[in-house]
């Protein structure tokens, strides 16, 4: 009986399983990386379609198939949690390092279209709010030079409000595939990563490897 139930549940097909795994890797990478990683918007879209499909499947189950309903629902809850957490973590990184992102086109490449719009709007409410601090003091602040007061794009670099990600923080990582050996800049130590190794390292040394998928954070 149980076998029949499980056999019937393989409808998600291989792509569904792959996408779920990919989401898990993307979510954990984003969670442990100190910087914002390149976006996975296509993956997100596929996941959302799969979620809709699953919700449809659940709705069509009848009351006798309670076990399947529980299992489908539980899986759905887990996927939704990962999706929400992924988007949340990215949003929090964006709000925290908003000024830093505005300064760098390369960093902005990592944002999805939605996130880019969010960044623009967030920057404008941030800037408006800070500008009001000086306006609120009536004429007292007027003589002060613009470089002191403003956080518009010309003065941004010197602003104390810019928060940069701490790339030197340590992260746990698992090696997905063998990598070319490389030397650490500080002490000339050669590092060779073999598939299956689990290491604790500074993020900046494995930055490129995380982004091309050779190493994943855990």
């Amino acid at each position: 009986r149980a076998q029949q139930i499980f056999a019937g549940m393989d409808e998600a097909g291989p792509s569904g399983v792959d996408d779920a795994n990919e989401l898990r890797v993307a979510f954990l990478n984003e969670k442990f990386a100190p910087e914002l990683l390149p976006h996975c918007d296509e993956l997100i879209q596929r996941i959302m379609e799969l979620i809709e499909d699953q919700e449809g499947t659940i709705a069509e189950l009848d009351s006798r198939e309670e076990l399947q309903r529980q299992l489908y629902e539980m899986e759905l809850e887990r996927i939704k949690y990962q999706l929400r957490e992924y988007l949340r973590i990215r949003l929090k990184k964006i709000t925290k390092t908003a000024l830093y992102l505005k300064l760098s086109d390369e960093q902005q490449e990592r944002l999805s279209q939605n996130e880019r719009e969010f960044l623009e709007d967030y920057f404008s409410i941030y800037k408006n709010h800070v500008d009001k601090v000086w306006d609120g003091a009536s004429e007292a602040a007027e003589p002060l030079p613009g470089q002191i007061k403003c956080i518009d794009e010309e003065n941004l670099e010197s602003s104390p409000l810019v928060v940069k990600p701490k790339l030197e923080s340590h992260v746990f990582c698992q090696v997905v595939r063998d990598c070319e050996p490389f030397t650490l800049p500080d002490n000339d130590q050669v590092v060779e990563l073999r598939q299956g190794d689990i290491l604790l390292m500074q993020y900046e040394h494995i930055r490129g490897l995380v982004q091309d998928g050779s190493v994943r954070l855990t």
């Binding site: 997100i44 959302m48 529980q70 629902e73 539980m74 809850e77 887990r78 939704k80 949690y81 999706l83 929400r84 957490e85 988007l87 949340r88 949003l91 709000t95 939605n114 969010f118 709007d121 967030y122 409410i125 941030y126 408006n128 709010h129 800070v130 009001k132 601090v133 000086w134 609120g136 003091a137 007292a140 602040a141 007027e142 003589p143 002060l144 030079p145 002191i148 007061k149 602003s159 104390p160 409000l161």
Partner: protein
């Protein structure tokens, strides 16, 4: 030896600790409060006025030194430098104060996932109330793009349905996940879908019965 004009003497005697006293007080009050202290616009005004005064002083001294032909890099030129450095320091303190308050406002929007409780609203200046509204609007717009409320599911789900104790009377409400109508009275212990009641548990109205 050079006899320094009186204003230069004055600056070198003025304790720079005094100049940043009010700014430091603002920051210290932030550290001491549980969420945020009330606005204190007079102190903010005071800091800005101090910045303006120091800036004016720096300009005055620079003009004087230009006039008397002091060579650049000689020690009297430290005086306007010190003034400007203090101005920058005051600005940094002020911006840290403002930004910290902004971050707390953002934090509470995520925690409460709804409109801000009145006891917190009281602690905000009118500009900050506007910021809270703007940020709320920004988040709502973003959530709509994915049709996902990102303030739900803060913890990995363990069970689909949980038993909760109703601590305060809620009455009727619509569960955000299932869309069903519920009516909860104080003292009930119903077995409900986690997604429907998660926000009420966070608000403290329901208690998860383990």
């Amino acid at each position: 030896s050079l006899s320094l004009p009186p204003c230069v003497e004055q600056v070198s005697l003025m304790s720079k600790l005094e100049a940043t006293r009010v700014a430091v007080e603002l920051l210290r009050d932030l550290k001491r409060s549980t969420w945020l202290p009330p606005p204190q616009p007079e102190k903010v005004q005071g800091v800005i006025e101090q910045m303006a005064a120091l800036f004016a002083e720096a300009q005055q001294i620079s003009a004087l030194l230009e006039e008397t032909g002091e060579p650049a890099g000689s020690s009297p030129w430290c005086a306007p430098r010190v003034c400007m450095m203090t101005v920058v320091r005051l600005r940094n303190c002020l911006l840290a104060y403002v930004r910290h308050r902004m971050e707390r406002i953002e934090e509470i929007r995520w925690d409460v996932a709804g409109s801000m409780p009145s006891e917190n609203l009281e602690m905000l200046s009118s500009h900050e109330e506007q910021y809270a509204k703007d940020y709320n609007q920004l988040l709502s717009t973003y959530f709509e793009k994915y049709d996902l409320d990102l303030t739900r599911d803060y913890n990995p789900p363990v069970h689909n349905k949980i038993r909760v104790n109703v601590l305060t009377e809620i009455g009727q409400f619509v569960g955000p996940e299932s869309g069903r109508d519920y009516e909860l009275k104080r003292g009930d212990s119903p077995f409900l879908r986690r997604g429907d009641v998660e926000h009420l548990i966070r608000q403290g109205v329901l208690q998860h019965h383990v």
